[in-house]
């Protein structure tokens, strides 16, 4: 009986050791797999242009055909195996599409003039305080830009020396 007691004591100690080591080593079990596109962190990552909703990170084919004939379309060859980039130019925006074997994705949207605005109402020519009032606190701020980020999706708003918006771009991080 003494022996059994001793063993159980030792084993209890070892159990404790194991339980310390066996702490959670995997990643979170509720990984956010879908790229949420609406209203994350106060900003939306889509643009309404001539009645077509262009969603950053969304499927490209239907959107591109809904947008009608672009002013120009220009293609860049397969770069580093990542797929090929296609640039569609419309009168007020540029849309960049990444074409890969697994499908075509809206990769970037840029504003060319002040005739378009974000769902929050931001457009080129506004002041920085207007932007902050409409979009709230930015994820990152530099002397010349504000960036709103959610996962891989970014909205980058650039300013000139006077603090006026001169650049608006929806950018997806490296895939």
């Amino acid at each position: 009986m003494k022996i059994a007691k001793r063993i159980s004591l030792i084993l209890a100690a070892l159990c404790l050791l194991v339980s310390l080591i066996a702490c959670d080593t995997g990643k979170g079990t509720t990984a956010n797999t879908s790229e949420d596109t609406e209203n994350v962190g106060g900003v939306s990552y889509y643009v309404n242009y001539n009645g077509t909703k262009i969603t950053l990170g969304g499927a490209a084919d239907a959107t591109v055909s809904a947008l009608g004939t672009p002013q120009s379309k220009s293609e860049l060859g397969n770069c580093g195996g990542l797929g090929s980039q296609v640039k569609y130019t419309y009168s007020s925006i540029y849309v960049y599409v990444l074409e890969t074997d697994s499908g075509n994705t809206i990769d970037q949207i840029e504003f060319r003039d002040d005739l378009v605005s974000t769902p929050e109402g931001v457009s080129i020519g506004m002041s920085k305080s207007d932007v902050l009032a409409k979009c709230g606190e930015a994820s990152a701020e530099s002397a010349t830009s504000l960036t709103y980020t959610s996962g891989k999706l970014n909205l980058s708003i650039g300013f000139d020396a006077n603090g006026t918006v001169n650049k608006i771009a929806y950018i997806r991080d490296g895939v």
């Binding site: 009986m1 022996i3 059994a4 001793r6 063993i7 159980s8 030792i10 084993l11 070892l14 159990c15 050791l17 194991v18 080591i21 066996a22 959670d24 080593t25 995997g26 990643k27 079990t29």
Partner: protein, 529 residues
């Protein structure tokens, strides 16, 4: 560090060199250090687990050894004074005590394995039951699964049970026991060795022996050939089909079953060839794990020839103890008077079989598909055993058939396909999908498509298919010859031919092996089981 990585090859080179350079009484220490380095590559936290298993097993085995020693001394000292009944009584009592010590060791180590490997599975199942009643369930834990834990735990627990049974004396040197637990070539995928067969040659010093060394290396190269040239190439086509199972129904399922049989055979026996070859080149003898399994004529025979050391483990440490435990004996005798002798032992043997196969299934992986796989194996064996009298009558009627080559071929093919069929459960990894795919086979659709070029759309081109077919032919030929003679031994008498064949095989591995960038040579399938 997988066998097919450059790191492992480099490690092996250094290891072999160090092993022979340290020839002498302490040579085994080199192996221990090497094994721990090997294991450390899998992660330092894994190292902690193997240490805990070693330490606890050492303690328990020493306690068991002490208890046995005391028992023997007591019996010896009181030989004259005790009568038979008293002796029996003392023995029964002390055996019970010993058994308690053993149970501590088993519960602790199998406990670790169970928690790490099965808690997520258990929680998921509990959750789905709770879900039926609208409950929310628990968070599914995600725990670290140390490399080869199923293998080393089983091997070490086998050792504990053997000590308990008095079959082997407990190892006094904990470092030596640590080597037995962690011997690097067999850590990842077995074979599961018995202490009594492995330990002596593991600790003994071994001088460099050109013959053993070249035999070992030949076997290693042969293993790489099977794994890299054949298995990893077949895997490409399998993955194409498994990525979208629904697209590949009908005849494709049959194709998958055959491909998977080839793949797992080449991969697993190849891996074991590498393992045994490495040990052999160092002069260490490991148990064989395969004996031409695909030539088996029945499921029962197949399981005596496939993954032999695992089958042996389950038979010796699970099936036999369950079938001969006292309540079972009583049950057997109780039934004998009521349903007859044969039927009574069937009740007992089948109960033990079902438990054994359930455990075998779950040992392979914490998922329902493995459990179903194990139970189906059990079912087939039980059914064919029940039909035994029928077979006997049949063979009495056609006495010539048993020796007929074609009948033999038919039986072997039937067993091959049957085993392949239920093995496909661990391809699809989902019981429902598997059953659906089996059902789709009955439609026979897709035969024309496969023959009409569909086979070339699975990721393999014609050259690959030719290579696979040639590879299978070579494997078949070698297996056929080795049934009669030891291939390497007979080649040894013809050194030039032997050298040419070995070099050719090596160049084949390097040139047409499926490794490197773009192919991510797959891990051995038996990892972490």
């Amino acid at each position: 560090m997988s066998f097919t990585s450059y790191t492992f090859i480099a490690f092996l080179g250094v290891m072999l060199l160090a092993y022979f350079l340290t020839y002498g009484k302490r040579q085994w220490i080199t192996l221990l250090v090497g094994s721990y380095i090997f294991y450390a590559f899998a992660g330092l936290d894994c190292l902690a687990f193997i240490l805990i298993t070693t330490l606890s097993s050492y303690l328990v085995s020493r306690l068991l050894g002490r208890a046995i020693g005391r028992e023997r001394a007591f019996l010896e000292a009181n030989k004259e004074t005790l009568d038979k009944a008293q002796r029996k009584e003392y023995k029964a009592r002390s055996k019970k005590k010993r058994f308690r010590i053993l149970l501590c060791g088993l519960f602790f180590n199998f406990g670790i394995l169970a928690v790490l490997k099965y808690s997520a599975f258990a929680v998921r199942n509990v959750n789905s039951i709770i879900g039926l009643f609208g409950g929310k369930g628990f968070d599914v834990p995600s725990l670290l699964l140390p490399l080869g834990i199923s293998f080393y735990t089983f091997q070490t627990m086998g050792y504990l049970i053997d000590v308990y049974r008095g079959k082997v004396a407990p190892e006094r040197n904990i470092a030596k026991l640590a080597l037995f637990v962690s011997f690097f070539p067999q850590l990842v995928q077995g074979p599961i060795s018995l202490y009594s067969e492995l330990a002596p040659s593991l600790y003994e010093p071994h001088k460099f022996d050109l013959k053993k060394f070249s035999f070992g290396m030949q076997r290693v190269i042969w293993g790489y050939f099977k794994k890299l040239v054949i298995a990893d190439r077949v895997l490409i086509a399998m993955n194409t089909m498994l990525d979208a199972p629904e697209q590949y129904g009908g005849a494709y399922v049959l194709l998958l079953i055959v491909l998977y049989s080839v793949q797992i055979y080449a991969d697993f026996t190849g891996g074991i060839d590498i393992t045994i070859g490495i040990a052999e080149s160092m002069g260490i003898k490991l148990a064989e794990n395969f004996d031409r399994p695909f030539s088996s004529r029945s499921t029962k025979e197949y399981w005596r020839r496939w993954h032999i050391t695992m089958g042996r483990w389950f038979r010796e440490y699970i099936f036999v103890p369950i079938a001969t435990v006292k309540p079972m004996l009583k049950l057997n005798n109780f039934c004998k008077n009521r349903i007859g002798v044969k039927a009574a032992s069937k009740v007992v043997a089948y109960t033990a079989s079902i438990v054994t196969w359930f455990v075998t299934g779950i040992w392979h992986g914490a998922a329902w598909n493995f459990i179903v796989w194990g139970l189906l194996n059990c079912l087939i064996i039980m059914v064919s055993e029940s039909l035994e009298p029928l077979y006997k009558k049949f063979h009495a009627r056609f006495p010539k058939l048993a020796g007929n080559r074609f009948y033999g071929g038919f039986c072997a093919t039937r067993t091959f396909l049957l085993m392949g069929l239920i093995r496909s459960l661990d391809c699809y990894r989902n019981v429902a999908t598997t059953f659906r795919m089996w059902g789709s086979m009955l439609t026979f659709r897709g035969i024309g498509e496969i023959l009409g070029g569909g086979i070339l759309r699975l990721g393999l081109d014609l050259t690959d298919i030719v290579i696979i077919l040639c590879g299978i032919a070579v494997m078949y030929a070698v297996s056929k010859i080795s049934a009669k003679t030891d291939v390497r031994e007979s080649l040894y008498e013809r050194p030039v031919l032997s050298a040419i064949l070995t070099c050719a095989l090596l160049i084949c591995v390097i040139m047409i092996g499926n490794y490197g960038i773009g192919y991510d040579a797959s891990q051995f399938i038996y990892d972490q089981f």
